[in-house]
């Protein structure tokens, strides 16, 4: 299903102001975990009197594996009397993955980063390495998505709701948390939420309103954080 990031983002609780607090918290956690672009539609329902938290989320098509060429330019360079592989960073988002990969392959001593955007790699055959490096896969966002969604749910849920249940099938993530045993009707309700979310038609005007009316622009911040350089 083709979806815009966070095209539906609703939080329900009996008291509207309390729902607004949790929408903010959800946006913050999405932003912290860089998940805003991965989630298409999300609905959360909280029933504090029953100690119940329900979340249904439809995830967008997962991102493709990231090659070094997707985030940096690789070339050879001659500096201080030595040949190096020079990597010029374009997208800093995958920097930790790149560094981890280079350290593992060349050892930290041979990976020199003099400034934020440039890495020099000392190697015996820089030409060959410079040709091969761009094709290497350094991150696979879809692989981490499941773990990230669970981390997201655990962080966003009210504290103390330690009885948890989740499913993750076909890009549909459902999460229930409670203080007591989760009843079958509660998981049925979560499934119904998921079905409604699937059938919903996002209203562009409503989405725009969310962006404009939300005082601190939580949704916008969640999206912006994705591509922060």
């Amino acid at each position: 299903m083709n979806m815009e990031p966070l095209e539906i983002f609703t939080v329900y609780s009996a008291v509207e102001t309390e729902a607004a607090v949790y929408r903010d918290i959800t946006a913050d956690v999405l932003s912290d975990l860089r998940l805003a672009s991965a989630v298409g539609r999300i609905r959360i329902e909280i029933y504090p009197a029953k100690s119940l938290y329900l979340m249904a989320a439809l995830l967008r098509d997962a991102e493709m594996p990231i090659h070094i060429s997707d985030m940096a330019a690789v070339e050879t360079s001659y500096e201080n009397g030595e040949d190096y592989v020079k990597i010029t960073i374009d997208r800093e988002k995958y920097m930790p993955d790149l560094t981890r990969y280079l350290w593992a392959k060349y050892t930290p001593a041979n990976v020199i980063q003099n400034d934020r955007w440039t890495i020099l790699v000392r190697t015996t055959d820089p030409k060959k390495e410079a040709a091969e490096l761009p094709l290497q896969i350094i991150a696979n966002p879809s692989k981490n998505l499941h773990a990230d969604m669970i981390e997201f749910s655990v962080r966003a849920v009210p504290e103390g709701f330690r009885v948890r249940y989740h499913t993750f099938e076909n890009n549909e993530f459902m999460f229930i948390a409670s203080e007591d045993i989760i009843e079958p009707n509660q998981s049925e309700h979560a499934k119904k939420m998921m079905a409604n979310l699937r059938d919903a038609v996002p209203d562009p005007a409503e989405t725009k309103k969310i962006i404009e009316n939300d005082g601190r622009g939580a949704r916008r911040r969640a999206e912006n954080a994705e591509e922060e350089h």
Binding site: T17, E18, D24, P158, E159, G160, R162, G215
Partner: protein, 312 residues
């Protein structure tokens, strides 16, 4: 009638700030805390009411500022139901940091089993630790139902005044059993409190806590401590030089009814008991000196005048 002391904070340059300290000592005031950051110095002090203009004038000459700090000499326990990411670092740390602006010393306490609605509770050690403070401020969450119906269980056994903070703005303190005050528009956050609304809520919190402290001070004035805690603190500092070697960030913490001395109890409690005042009495005669629940520090709780029979 005894001297009335007012709490103030001096902010200014390090250059010749010793003059302020000298004048403060000359007029009979006490320096509670001094912190130097690069070329700036921040000093918490209590000044005799009638001599405030003198210090104010000197502060002005030194191009510094002297502002009233209503929470100087107050030790506040900032209690969050747990130490999990739901409370820390935001909003509990923001609250504790903001309370320190008007001079309070804060201790952050995360309860071991404070989470949730049905299972939340506090234990004896935690209650005793909280009771060592002048005031307990609880950082609660976003749901009115929890704050009113479930969380008061965390207040059981806490004898110091209790301030509850939370998200909903429409709760009255009387609705929360055991709380002396409720401050809204705070509650759970996943980001630093920095928007205008959030800073405003923190300002309101400081003002209201200051009101409560003022009320507590007025009650205390009816039967004041046998010796001014700031004076006891000064004497401990002068007579036990080892305090200078304590690695704690504030080795002596002034409280409304005493002092927390951050030295090992077993090694130093006898010497604290022997601290002598010019008028003759020793600190052991004027105060209960016990082992603190915080590490193995020494807690000096000064007895009220009515119990000792005199005031120095």
């Amino acid at each position: 009638m005894g001297t009335v002391y007012e709490p103030y904070v001096f902010n200014g340059g390090v250059y010749k700030h010793g003059r302020i300290i000298e004048l403060l000592e000359d007029v009979g005031g006490y320096l509670v805390n001094k912190m130097i950051t690069l070329t700036e110095v921040t000093m918490d002090m209590v000044i005799p009411e009638e001599d405030v203009p003198l210090i104010e004038e000197l502060a002005k000459r030194q191009l510094g500022t002297l502002t009233k700090s209503p929470l100087t000499g107050v030790e506040i326990a900032v209690v969050s139901p747990t130490l999990a990411s739901h409370h820390l670092p935001h909003s509990a740390c923001d609250i504790a940091e903001y309370l320190r602006h008007p001079g309070a010393k804060t201790t952050m306490i995360g309860l071991a089993r404070g989470m949730g609605r049905r299972v939340s509770l506090n234990d004896d050690f935690e209650r005793r630790l909280i009771n060592e403070h002048d005031l307990a401020l609880y950082c609660l969450g976003a749901f009115k139902d929890c704050i009113v119906n479930k969380k008061p269980r965390l207040f059981e056994g806490v004898e110091v005044p209790i301030v509850a903070t939370g998200g909903p703005g429409d709760i009255r303190a009387e609705e929360i059993s055991g709380a002396d005050m409720y401050i809204g528009n705070m509650g759970r956050r996943s980001h630093r409190m920095r928007s205008a609304d959030e800073i405003n809520a923190l300002d309101v919190m400081n003002d209201r806590v200051a009101e409560l402290v003022e009320e507590m001070r007025q009650n205390q004035a009816k039967d004041p401590p046998a010796v001014l805690p700031a004076r006891a603190m000064k004497e401990i500092e002068n007579q036990i030089p080892e305090i200078g070697k304590s690695l704690a960030p504030s080795p002596l913490v002034l409280k409304m009814s005493g002092v927390r001395v951050k030295l090992p109890y077993d090694l130093f409690h006898e010497r604290v008991r022997e601290v002598e005042f010019d008028e003759g009495p020793k600190l052991g005669e004027l105060a209960d000196i016990t082992k603190s629940k915080m590490n193995d520090y020494i807690l000096v709780q000064i007895k009220p005048k009515s119990e000792v029979g005199f005031e120095i």
